[in-house]
Symmetry: C2
């Protein structure tokens, strides 16, 4: 790609470093900004550098927060003995939007993935183990994505906290609401039969 302007080339190259954005898309986006009023670009530019420079992570759960301790952790109405272990902040947002969980979270910041060079020491696992050791946690809910890396991470944490007085559970895997049985994959359908629940229980939710 030959650019007639160094400034443009520079902006496109920086934009193209974002995941899923190639050079062509980056060029389209930058040209779009050039057609918009100047303030739009300046607002975007400032918002990005502000969030990067001033971002804070909650000291307790490692969720993104503008304060030392996030709103969820400091909410006295939430059950601090129940901790949901998730991969990243998007999972917190997804679970929060269900309105079904009243405990706290613990954001690991990734999952164990030797292929990507991510080991347990790169994740917020130590602070989770410390929480469990403190004896104030009654139950850990593992809510990692049902992938090999997710399972590995769950199992690693499970081994670390063995011997401590804490219940562990994992979110249910099964047929999604509204899905047709015949289009559900075998592993999920198989698990949903093994993990079947009493019919009366299903009526309650």
């Amino acid at each position: 790609m030959e650019f007639s302007s160094k400034l443009l080339e520079n902006a496109v190259n920086e934009m193209a470093q974002l995941p899923g954005i190639g050079k062509r898309t980056a060029l389209r986006l930058v040209l779009h900004l050039l057609r918009q009023p100047e303030y739009q670009t300046f607002q975007l530019s400032e918002a990005l550098s502000n969030v990067r420079a001033e971002i804070n992570f909650c000291k307790s759960c490692h969720n993104i927060s503008d304060k030392e301790i996030c709103e969820i952790c400091e909410n006295p109405n939430r059950d601090s003995t129940l901790i949901c272990v998730v991969e990243d902040i998007r999972d917190v947002m997804a679970i929060e939007s269900t309105g079904s969980f009243k405990g706290l979270y613990h954001v690991l910041g990734g999952k164990i993935s030797p292929i990507d060079g991510i080991g347990p020491q790169d994740l917020n696992i130590d602070s989770l183990v410390e929480k469990v050791k403190s004896g104030l946690v009654k139950e850990l809910i593992f809510a990692m994505s049902p992938t090999m890396e997710g399972d590995t991470t769950n199992f690693y944490i499970f081994r670390q906290i063995q011997g401590y007085n804490v219940t562990t559970s994992t979110i249910a895997r099964g047929v999604a609401a509204g899905n047709e049985l015949e289009y559900t994959d075998e592993i999920t359908l198989g698990r949903s039969i093994i993990d079947r629940i009493p019919f009366e229980t299903s009526l309650k939710s």
Copy 2:
């Protein structure tokens, strides 16, 4: 979408104003930046505000340029009597990369599109007509996309310069190199028969 941080929410909202980028993608991109070293975000942020603040358009052809007159326009080896009329700078880049064109360009900055509220006065048409009136231009090549808006724009310009001593042409429409005839649409295939060229001519390129 509920955010645990105003800074994050702000960055995501600004990012989501870019075309083709929804809130979810914007969140993914911003979280990616937060995981990268700080300098990457600052470089992106600076490159964007720099390009927006300091961008120049060539006084002659309206291509994006860091100088008053772009490199193509000031190149003495190019034929200044031959002008290729294009919609935007991406078309200049596409034609330049073919290496088949040795004339100059004229970037309109869009196409006439009443639905989007874009009329002739919003495009760089007056300066093109002035160039033709000066008598220094021998041929205009219309290289707009073969859409209704492109055709309208071509025809509008054609009417403006009627009576002046200039040849006009439009880029050939036909079957693309490597395409199977049976998968080519009827309009294109029909045109390619009407616009057939002597076989000997086809051997030369």
